[in-house]
């Protein structure tokens, strides 16, 4: 035994932290860059047959909400006994830090119901929008309610048929919600309304921010299409009419190379539109990719995403962004989702099988596959700080240790 020098211990810890990449948080929907891509490079993509080591497991209640991770805290949502619950866990150990519940309907129209939205972490606050328009601002450390209100009632916006689903976007002093025809802006300090849009129903995507000509913009979906607005005043900049059955414009748009890529299910398909005009023109349209819920992920000029609906056993496909040409298709993938890290796909199929494969147009060749959770998995996996988090509809959350030693 020896007594280590305190400074040396700090140094050793810092080194360990750096190795484990503890800065690779996933603080909001679709990850740090809002594109389904993690910046993490050191993670194991070869697993034993029964999958990576399970770091922890938890029960979070019925739903499809994704997980967000910041400063070693994990937040997600679930539904049970006529309430939704915001869960906060220690992201490495699974220890419950706090919970906060509020009354909510199950909402089981054509599916088992439960929560569908995902929290957003911004500094010391976590923001939650329920399917029924309840908006909450909670303290990340203790779950204390800083403010809460029902934005559907306040704005009299039509809720979409399956309720509000897009995660809150926090930028500057505001929180932007996919509520109304083209978004809703609240002051993040107290939830007071900054601006509203038309009352028609929103779509189900998360506001996607970008910057153009010195102006902060975000793309919102509605029941009739996708539109970009100025974040400072909600002024519409461009819009694409994109009709999907039941108004299910759910998959997040993808902005790249002066274009916006849109895709939805119910036989609709995809389109690439050139930005620049108030009504962007289609570069191509195709039925090859049709992302009913989870958006595709773009990597080196290719999109990786699903084609088909929950009722049709969707395929996982690779499609060239510039042309819409299909490069490969893996049938019977189901309505799962993918993320990309260090050039590799981490794909959770619709029935809880996790796979990883190089993200390449040459084909889908998994190097590791494991059944990591049972039942229905419509929630894309999340990679943060060496852990892959997966959940199923029943609310079984599993944290898989993929730290590379």
């Amino acid at each position: 035994m020896f007594r280590a020098h305190p400074l040396l211990m700090v140094a050793a810890c810092t080194l360990a932290l750096a190795q484990r990449g503890l800065s690779d948080d996933w603080p909001h929907w679709r990850g740090p860059q809002r594109n389904g891509t993690s910046s993490e490079t050191r993670w194991l993509h070869e697993w034993p047959a029964d999958g990576p080591k399970v770091a922890w497991k938890a029960e979070v209640g019925l739903g499809f909400s994704s997980m967000v991770i910041a400063s070693n805290r994990l937040f997600t949502l679930g539904h049970a006994d006529e309430q939704d619950t915001v869960h906060a866990f220690d992201a490495s150990t699974g220890t419950t830090l706090w919970k906060h519940s509020y009354p909510a309907e199950l909402g089981d129209k054509y599916f088992e119901g439960g929560t569908t939205g995902t929290p957003t972490v911004d500094g010391d606050r976590v923001y939650v929008l329920s399917r029924w328009g309840d908006m909450l601002c909670l303290g990340v450390a203790d779950g204390k309610v800083h403010w809460t209100k029902n934005v559907q009632q306040e704005t009299a916006s039509r809720p979409p048929d399956w309720g509000f689903t897009g995660a809150p976007l926090v930028q500057g002093e505001h929180v932007f919600l996919n509520v109304g025809e083209a978004g809703l802006a609240l002051h993040k300090k107290d939830g007071s309304v900054a601006w509203t849009s038309g009352k028609k129903e929103a779509g189900y995507s998360t506001p996607l921010p970008y910057r153009e000509a010195g102006e902060d913009l975000a793309v919102f979906s509605s029941g009739e299409g996708y539109a970009a607005v100025r974040l400072r005043d909600g002024q519409r900049v461009w819009g694409v009419r994109w009709l999907t059955q039941y108004g299910v414009n759910a998959a997040d748009p993808i902005l790249h190379d002066g274009h916006v890529f849109l895709s939805s299910g119910y036989g609709k398909g995809s389109g690439l539109f050139k930005l620049g005009a108030a009504e962007p023109e289609a570069t191509w349209k195709s039925k090859v990719l049709a992302t009913q819920m989870n958006a595709a992920v773009l990597h080196q000029g290719h999109l990786y995403g699903t084609a088909g609906d929950t009722t049709t056993k969707a395929a996982l496909k690779c499609v060239e962004f510039a042309t819409g040409t299909e490069k490969w298709s893996r049938p019977n993938f189901g309505s799962g989702g993918v993320v990309i890290a260090s050039g590799r796909l981490i794909a959770l199929n619709g029935t809880g099988e996790l796979m990883t494969a190089p993200a390449t147009p040459d084909g889908f060749q998994p190097t590791a596959t494991a059944q990591v959770v049972g039942g229905k998995t419509w929630t894309a996996p999340v990679l943060a700080n060496g852990i892959v988090y997966c959940r199923n509809a029943r609310g079984e959350l599993v944290a898989l240790d993929v730290h590379r030693p």
Binding site: R158, Q245, K287
Partner: protein, 442 residues
Amino acid sequence: MTSTRRQFLRTTALATSLVSAAPFIRAADPAKKYRTALIGCGWWGNNILREAIASERLKVVGLCDVDTRARDITAERVHDLNGDSPAKHNDFRELLEKEKPEIVLIASPDHWHALQTIAAVKSSAHVFVEKPTGHTVNESRAMLHAARNSGRVVQVGLHRRIGPHHVSAMKFLKSGAVGDVGMVRIFANGGGGRERPAPNLEPPEGLDWDLWCGPAPKRPFSQKLHPGGWRGFLDYANGQLGDWGVHWLDQVLWWSEEPYPKRVYCTGGRNIAGTPILTEKEQTSDAPDHQVAVYDFERFTCVWEHRRFGGTQSEKHGIGAYFYGTKGTLHVGWQDGWTFYPSDSKAPSVHEDSQLQQPDGHNLKLLWADFLAAIETGRKSVANIEVGHRSSVLPLLGMISWRTGRSLQWDGAKEEIVGDPEASRLLSRPYRAPWVYPDLTS
């Protein structure tokens, strides 16, 4: 342990191939493209239309829906599928008059089936209408009557009459392999809980809510109702018994040598979902969250059960029909195919997988092909209006018993409830003006 009866399957395969060969005996001009229209451009209407288009035997000339967005989306889809540019109509009468379709597909909510089917056959169209035929018994009778008078083919959407595993299960059952069947239990169970009310809203822009309600009472608009939730509202449908119940009762009638039961009793309620709410501000659905219906036949008892709570984990099957016989129990299901569980615990069970078609997950393709074959050969279609009528009447009688709280004596030959004038009045219902309830002169 499970084994497959090869001999049995061979026989089935032979029978199936004969059936599918039949249409070609008198095949009409294969290049003939039927002028086709769809009324009701929702999820299921689009499923039927997609199969219809896949047959390459039609030109889609018209689409009708009271929701502008639904018909716009469907028109876009039709154009993508086969290049047709159908005319779009809000009102089915205008569609029939202007587009003069030769085939009309009807996938509107139940309360519209009768008037639309009758108008369509009177305009000389063949009709493919969703089940149940009517929302009340006398609507269904009027549909049958109008179809007979017109000489047109009317196919009812009972695809379980032609789904391969249903056909082979029925053959197995009729072969005597199950023995004498004394009881049938049909069921559709699932999970669920208390229902909270949703706010009444202004109908969305582009939805003709008055025409959506049509002959039925006009409730305040709610997203619980449209799109798609109307089956839980008794003004427009008959809940689970009027949905899945039709399919499974149809399987029973297909097998049974008796064409109708002599007595019907039904009970149930909303013990979990809660008392229905309808105020100026908000509403819930009002269909029962569980029901038990007993159909007394001379030679067997048929019990229907549905539950929207409790789940299905405790049972091997969540949906289907059990035929209980002296040699064992036959389960006919949906995705899980059919399985025979012999009484002799040492004997192997027998199983056949389902053969469903995507993307509808049922067997619409086969039912559509049969419909076209019936039009072209003059033979009866497998789920013709007489079949569909008889199978639709049983759940509707169950609902009358449920409403009145007593057993009904049913004279199936005359289609009359015996000795119960109050219950007999519920064989029809008042229509909202200006719509007129169809009768046998319709």
